[in-house]
């Protein structure tokens, strides 16, 4: 194995546990995320609920204007800009603009934390790429199999993430109003991540300073190799991180992809129903759904449809 000289002081755990555990937990992450995304995608068309500024409004986004500002707007071509959306999202992802403007006390901790996570994600991607490159016999990417570059990368990423996580936790614990407004899950996530980072530091310090063990493990994972052994500390880190990832789709942390829906599909969804045709089929289907709201002015019995109830006058 690729263990460093420090490994001798550690009890080694079976590779099988880490590999199978990792596969199961990663599958949980992927399937859970897919389930959640598909659930949102399959939700029916909603009524419009946009909020300005709408990032794709060409030439008007700087002040939050819309096509409704044009006289006889329905007769004019609608100009939208995908660049506007990408720019706004990028600004949010890379500068945490909303937090900076509206919640400056939380901005720096949050920025450090998020940058740490972005770099850790890239580190994982680099290890994966290294594994794939190795499998395909691609030359020139040997540095992705571990070494000083990854080591420094890991330190910076882990440093930022840990510092950000600690500062966020301190703020949540130390600010009585923020603590009061937090849910048990908010603390669980931060403590869990902190535990993952702590194990990651321990691995870096004791077992795998240059990420060679991790790179070897990823290579084995790609080949679904079981057997052999890796250090117990490394197994613990993999399983704790894997469990966190498997849990993630069931938490509010899916905001990383949910933003597509909350922003693109709700906040910026200003597409007009020109001439009543664009949404005809969808709307007709939805208007035929049964209503069971019980208030006296509706008296939905589960048989009457939306189309029925909206044509009634209702009782007081």
């Amino acid at each position: 194995m690729l263990a460093s000289r420090h490994v001798v002081v550690l009890q080694e755990g079976p590779m099988t546990v880490a590999t199978i555990g990792c596969v199961v937990l990663l599958a949980g992450f992927v399937l859970g995320s897919l389930y959640k995304a598909v659930r949102y995608v399959r939700m029916p068309m909603h009524v419009r609920w946009e909020l300005y500024p709408v990032a794709h409004e060409k030439g008007k986004v700087s002040y939050g204007g819309s096509y409704f500002e044009e006289l006889d707007w329905w007769t004019k071509p609608r100009e939208t800009s995908l660049v506007g959306e990408v720019k706004t999202i990028a600004e949010e992802v890379f500068t945490l603009k909303a937090v900076r403007e509206h919640n400056p006390k939380l901005w720096l901790p949050s920025l450090l934390f998020h940058y740490g996570l972005y770099l850790l994600f890239l580190l994982g991607a680099a290890l994966l790429l290294g594994g794939v490159a190795d499998g395909l016999g691609v030359v020139g990417l040997g540095w992705l199999g571990g070494g000083k570059v990854l080591s420094r990368w890991g330190v910076v990423a882990l440093g930022l993430a840990t510092l950000g996580c600690c500062l966020l936790l301190l703020r949540r614990l130390g600010d009585p109003t923020l603590r009061n407004a937090s849910s048990p899950a908010d603390f669980l996530h931060l403590w869990w991540l902190l535990a993952v980072f702590a194990l990651s530091w321990a691995n870096w310090l004791v077992v795998d300073r240059e990420y060679t063990v991790a790179a070897g493990f990823v290579k084995g994972l790609l080949r679904l190799q079981v057997g052999g052994s890796v250090p117990a500390l490394f197994v613990a880190q993999v399983l704790l991180l894997g469990a966190f990832l498997a849990y993630l789709p069931w938490s509010h942390m899916t905001h990383m992809f949910a933003k597509y829906f909350t922003w693109h599909s709700v906040r910026w969804d200003d597409a007009p129903n020109i001439a009543g045709e664009a949404y005809r089929e969808k709307a007709l289907k939805l208007l035929m759904l049964p209503v069971s709201w019980s208030a006296p002015h509706i008296k939905g019995d589960g048989k009457k449809t939306w189309l029925d109830v909206v044509q009634e006058r209702g009782e007081s």
Binding site: P53, V99, H102, T177, N180, T262, A283, S292, W293
Partner: protein, 539 residues
Amino acid sequence: MKPEPLVPPVKVRDIAKPTPALSPLDLQKIVPLPPPYDQIDPQTLWKELTAERRQEIDASLDGVSALSLKRPEDPQEEERLLKGFVEGLRKLLSVENNWTFLQPLQLTLDHCTHCQTCADACPIFVMSGRNEIYRPTYRADVLRRLVARYGNGGNPIKSALTGPIELNWETLARLAELSYRCTLCRRCAQACPIGVDNGLVTHELRKLFSQELGIAATECHANGSMLQLRVGSSTGMTPAVVRDNIEFIDEEMSEKVGFTVKTPFDKVGADVLLLHNAGEILAWPENPGAFAVILEAAGISWTMSSDLVAYDAINYGLWYDDVQFARVALEHIKVAKKLKVKKIVIGECGHAHKALTVIADRLLLGEDNIPRESALTFLEGIVNSGVLKLDPSRNDFPVTLHDPCNIVRAMGIVEPQRRILRRIAPRFREMTPHGVENYCCGGGSGFAIMSPNNFANWRMLVSGRIKMQQILEAFKDELDPAIPKYLCTPCSNCKGQFRDLLRAYGAWERSRILYGGLVELVVNAMADVPPGFLEWEFH
């Protein structure tokens, strides 16, 4: 100075505690106004409910009552209400019963990180002195916890992660009241980095209470949308009364402007169907009058309708009930179709703008989808056409502009009204902030028409206070009552709030601040009209 005693902040789960008031309004903490208005003691604007009244109704949220809810008479009734609420939760999260808002609601329920980035964006939370129960996440978290614990049979793991909550009468009554402590301005949603919309939570809670339990603000439901559907208008005006009133306004206008003004009714084939908030006809007749003057002077082919519901643009369902919303919207469209108009122009009424133009949009199929346009855009078209001779010197007094949330933040109509003002009002100045970042007037989502118990006092002291602050800041160098000032407010609902707000703070007497619409200013600047269209009288 003695340090303030540490009072533990109200927790989400405290909503179920049987205490006389969960978090009463603390008048000492209310944010002060700029001088000289800082001398007004909040106590003078406040009304404590009497002990007798508090026996009759539930005011256990904050000592205020918007809904006049009565406690259940016996445990059976309480049980029925609680069961109904749980049933309502299920329906709120079902495709069949809530396809209209299910996706945005579920996204909001699933993704709040409680970072509190939204908190300072909420004027009610800030101006109340940061009362925890007005925090935008508070009511949303109550709902989240109830959904986790009771929704669709409940989920113990999710409930443990979301946080503890009990459902009892206190929770139900306070949550219903709490859904009427937010004006749905959606500044919180605008601030959220994730796109969570706590304003939507308020909307959905109101729907649950109305559509399942029949609990809604009387002014919005029984005396609002129900009255409109039955009699024709929430003002109670019948078609004959509307025609009489408009005829009277036309006569007044003709006399003032020196040419004949005649509002056409039910003109088949007109280019434009103009929908006014009927409240204008009664409370601010100069507004529909000014519209008529402009349209006649511009030679527009237009009409109003005298059909039931269609002579009143309001659609209060927007604030609390999808079914009522759809019923009213369909009536508006039915009349436009009957009159074969080319477009509907919505007068100076913010929520009517959003209701018919945005929210109803995807439900209007085929020939029902008659184009709808804002009066502000339409008016700019007339001004730009040059058909009106305008003399800005007629409006040589300080003017500031209020941005109605439904027109600006919810529809992105920001510049047309400003371009008009820059042309006709040489002393126009902006409020800070303005445009899509504006603050609500404090009367949004129906509040302006709601004054039961001590709710109007709360509106003046809390929900409207930041706007009062903004108005005073906008005119800060000219607060002298010798200088007349104009608060331009192109929205009936906001005008209702400003009437109460400026009166409560004595801003007419102290600083000569008058409020009114945009069309009045346009007519006041018309060179072909005798000077002095604007009457500097507060009403």
